[in-house]
Symmetry: C2
Subunit: 377 residues, 2 copies
């Protein structure tokens, strides 16, 4: 591999996550981009390319060609502007490509934005659109929407490793408590273990409290080969089959394990060096799988490990409580890890936050992106 430049996150911009009837996709994305540029202290002239992560804007809002559509309104016209789609890892994939380009000297400074506007569609249509992240013929049409897919994974994890309903509920309780302190979170509602366990059934064994939120929102980062307070120590993207039926063991996410191993090797770090992580808890069971695949605990021990809380996971509230505007999630995780490392997570700041990890998942694991960030110079 060529000599690689150090890449810094030099600007962060977010909108709150929530259900915003009066906001459209473009206004959310433009707000995040302008906040990130302002935070970086640069104007549009300082940006050489625009990367947009968006899962299903055409289906949710009826508008495609979204990268120049957003770039034009943000004053970024002229430069390369492309939309990246990799289901729930869309903006993780956009970030990966942007980081590669800056690290290899293609560009000095670029903007990566993730956005999704979801609440404009009724719930049944939202479920149908989200099902397009899985294998529609093999899963969605026969009825295996994502809650059902992750319910099957949870059932199997319980059977194979003794994971319990309580383990899942503890993840929900923690993430709700965390989100309650994050001013940008969609849901600010502390729940008890009893409430989590007694949640409305969605797909056995998952209740309402095991499922992430349907949200509107955007996040953006400016990354650059100029020096910055937060460095990208590593970023890796991998893929796997889309259909659960094509996987050897549904309790295992090999794409996450592989991306994590590549990222640790690139950063010359081990899981023990990570102070905190934002992981892709689209369902509580997904957080349990994530901490296993990221090497924070052994395979099968994610349930008890999560209950014990030996390190901060999803201090932002995670997808569960911060919200999950699908295409925004990957960049939002990176933005939140950056704020922690800078010491700017006001109200939810960790004491030790020198090295953080962000893990973004597409579908039931067909796309994985793992990014490690650390204190820069």
């Amino acid at each position: 591999m060529n000599y690689m430049k150090e890449v810094a996150v030099v600007g962060v911009g977010k909108t709150p996550f929530g259900a915003f009837a009066a906001r459209d996709l473009r206004s959310l994305a433009v707000e995040a981009v302008q906040n990130a540029l302002s935070d970086a202290g640069i104007g549009p002239d300082g940006v050489q390319a625009f990367y947009l992560g968006n899962f299903a804007g055409p289906s949710f809002t009826g508008q495609s060609h979204l990268a120049p559509y957003v770039a034009g309104a943000a004053g970024l016209t002229g430069i390369p502007a492309t939309r990246y789609e990799a289901a729930c890892a869309s903006s993780g994939a956009a970030f990966h490509s942007a980081w590669q380009a800056v690290a290899h000297g293609v560009y000095e400074t670029v903007v990566v934005c993730g956005v999704e506007k979801m609440t404009c569609q009724p719930t049944a249509r939202v479920a149908q659109i989200l099902a397009m992240a899985g294998d529609v013929a093999a899963e969605g049409i026969p009825g295996a929407t994502f809650p059902a897919i992750f319910a099957m994974i949870a059932r199997r994890h319980m059977h194979q490793y003794g994971t319990t309903r309580e383990h899942l509920a503890h993840v929900a309780v923690k993430n709700h408590a965390n989100g309650a302190t994050n001013p940008y979170a969609h849901l600010k509602k502390i729940i008890t273990l009893e409430q989590a366990l007694a949640g409305k059934p969605i797909a056995e064994p998952l209740t309402l409290y095991d499922c992430s939120l349907v949200s509107d929102g955007a996040a953006a980062v400016v990354i650059s080969s100029r020096a910055g307070a937060v460095k990208v120590l590593a970023c890796a993207q991998t893929s796997d089959h889309v259909a659960l039926a094509d996987k050897a063991d549904i309790t295992h996410l090999p794409s996450v394990q592989s991306a994590a191993r590549q990222a640790y090797a690139m950063a010359r770090l081990t899981p023990k060096d990570i102070d905190f992580a934002e992981v892709h808890d689209c369902f509580t069971i997904a957080e349990i799988l994530a901490v296993e695949e990221l090497g924070f605990c052994k395979k099968g021990e994610g349930g008890p490990w999560s209950q014990a809380q030996p390190m901060p996971i999803n201090r932002s509230g995670g997808l569960k409580s911060k919200g999950h505007p699908v295409g925004a999630t990957g960049v939002a995780q990176i933005a939140d890890v950056t704020l922690q490392i800078r010491g700017q997570a006001t109200g939810w700041q960790l004491t030790k936050a020198d090295i953080g990890l962000a893990q973004n998942l597409g579908g039931s694991g067909a796309t994985s992106v793992v990014t490690i960030l650390g204190k820069g110079n």
Copy 2:
């Protein structure tokens, strides 16, 4: 900019373009990818990343997360696999990103595929999906679908530069004649000038013969920093506003001019050095604009220049006759330029084809990609 490696197109794979009721999106894409790998003489193990250009698979076919969905079926699981969307320039944008990565040493060898499956939807729905490449609120909903948008551009070009209906018709006649010799073309139908002029009106002054086709199809290329018979001499991507109303002069495509200038500078060539070009003739007027912006003739002279045919434009038949499976078009152009340079365009081979140009357009110019290819070693 860093030292850049030479990038070669080492494999080309296509499906025929047409209306294939029995074929789905994935089978088309997999066929193109496998043909390209076979042409390159490498197996899936030799590929480090998968780039998929696709405009509207979720809307046409109901399936999203298409990059790992195709990669998995093509035996490419594990590597980074991302879908690129930039309207009709989706696979041009995917190619641009892939070329950057190989040129800058991120990867040695990658596959870029473009695909679209369109004929599964009724015509009215196809028009609605295509309108998402424009500004839906400002254009599509008020009724300015793409034929109407390019009709306005044509009218203004006629007014400003004296372009005539005959000039447009000559483009159609040439591209139909060209496509009739290309075994992979959707339409193999020679038409006369009189037929073109008497075509069914679509949006004045455009008739049926001024409009490209609604097609299914896929194309793929393998590109590598290893030596190869065809080199990528340059590739540039640019952007512009999505809505026609935001443009200063609707007869001008500044994104194409800018991408062309960047590409010529990178290749150290001028328009006079180009032997032949595949340009984005979504409508006949778009070909006239393209040859002007690419510098083959002066602004406003595209009509008479096209009628005189001083150099081969769209020898493949172009979008007009070869077909326009939207997401496949950018890579198909590059594949066809490669075949010409190799001397493998059996039945439609040009005598002199050492340096060729491919120009891919998104919407009415919000995305542009210009690629120049030449004989390698």
